[in-house]
Symmetry: C2
Subunit: 327 residues, 2 copies
Amino acid sequence: MDFNEIIESIRTFKGVTRKHSIADVREKLKDIYNISGNVYLAFGDDAAAVDIGNNQLMLLATDGIWGSLMSVDPWWSGYCSVLVNVNDIAAMGGLPMGMTNVLSSSDSDITSQIMDGIKEGVKKFGVPMVGGHTHPDTPYNALDVAISGIVDKDAIIPSCGAKKDDNVIVAIDLDGQVYPGTDINWDTTSDKTPQYVQDQIKIMNTIGKKQLVHAGKDISNPGIVGTLGMLLEASNMGADIDMEKIPRADNIDWIQWFKMYPGSAFVLTAPEETTDEAIRLLNNSHINAECIGKVTDNHKLSMSYKNDKKTVFDFSSEIIMGFSEDK
Amino acid sequence: MDFNEIIESIRTFKGVTRKHSIADVREKLKDIYNISGNVYLAFGDDAAAVDIGNNQLMLLATDGIWGSLMSVDPWWSGYCSVLVNVNDIAAMGGLPMGMTNVLSSSDSDITSQIMDGIKEGVKKFGVPMVGGHTHPDTPYNALDVAISGIVDKDAIIPSCGAKKDDNVIVAIDLDGQVYPGTDINWDTTSDKTPQYVQDQIKIMNTIGKKQLVHAGKDISNPGIVGTLGMLLEASNMGADIDMEKIPRADNIDWIQWFKMYPGSAFVLTAPEETTDEAIRLLNNSHINAECIGKVTDNHKLSMSYKNDKKTVFDFSSEIIMGFSEDK
């Protein structure tokens, strides 16, 4: 196993590099993003948060799927559109309340399979699809889903809250399999019961309410280390982590593992005194959690393997998203 | 002026007929639309409503723009994506809290103009765009915006609440102009101040809180009469209206007027005792409101002109959306 190759594979992974464009969108909207004065968190987090009074925040997120995945496996695309949005709300410690969708396709067979996938996602995660519309005459297939949730103001888990000396926790449901036809979807939900997956969503709400963690993010396209990098960048921090402590499924090599989009997985940072309780709750919900290192204030994400230590991202000279969250 | 021609023009207007597909979407999702048990209103209204406790409902809506309008006038497309979504929340008596968007375009010049239009919409309506993402490599231009808002449970204005003998109110800001390059956009906002347009949005929240109306809907693609038809269909009611009482801009003929998508306009139904107060509040906000007829229980929308009376829609034998809202 070549440790250099692993590091280079993470650094050049498209799931990481394509996040650079977030900086452009944010730059365009920065002077007006809080036009109403009640935006609590916006760009750089899994979901934006808007103060609606009563100590409650409304969470808003959106994710789109288009192109090859939709043609290869329309059903899975529909299902995943629910999964990724629900995880965005869970990562903030929130409870997902409802979704809307826009479906564009002129192929009625593909449309039907996508809708079946969405329906299965709705049943599995228990979040209603309350509206949407269809462009039935587009020369392409695309599916965009928006989700809204709620969270108590003092229970929110932001990406930008990591503090020096926090423990870094990686939590992944290891009971899964690579979804057929994909190399990078670690499917942990399609063969589980609704109760099982909904308990995993709710445990993040419990962790938020108990204020056990300072920061959290769901592991998505950028993979485990890329997602941790985004959390640290948003928090204006760094970390030292030990690769071999990262929970990993049997028979998957590190390079492939670090590109996986898992069905239920989070990176979190927690102070020493609440780390064990957070890990215990995650493990109880079948999300295998381990403390893999410490948050530092040196603005580098460094990873160790045996006696070797490499810098994965140096935020003082490079970017993932290109900004730390305004706090 | 040929009254028959006016009636036929409304009945065959694409803005009305394309609403038929809502029935298909609803049919596909009907057994799971309330999977969480807290969906208060869904398909057939301007926005869905989900119970979030504390006597509050979360409102969710989404609207998409694609194709010709985006190439013809990208700036206006971006601006309108905000306008139509904000009006969906206002029509429910709600306060818009935040939006997200998905923008698909491979043309950086078009993308830039769309973003400028969105920014102007955000500034004008005072609702933040808190997130979104871009598909920068699609072979088409499309813009989808989702919005969430809140409303007190006892202040919501549904489409489905019209009651027999209610007065039918049509309210339209007449101070506008046909937007250049379109035949059917009655622009009443682009030259107004943010205060002016935001007061118009908030007056619907006031009307909801004072419980002055039983039903309401913003006038959108189906035009004045088509939108009223949808409200009546959702309410499982009919109405007798008098064409000449409908507020109309000078120098626009009826056929064109009935195809207009106005910037700020609503159809409402109100009991006799609160009609005057609703009309007064709307007029104070520069939305010219008139009582144009009565709700009936005969499931027909009939329109009179001088001594002639015609059926525009007969809901016992034809559909617009194809269902009345479950109450």
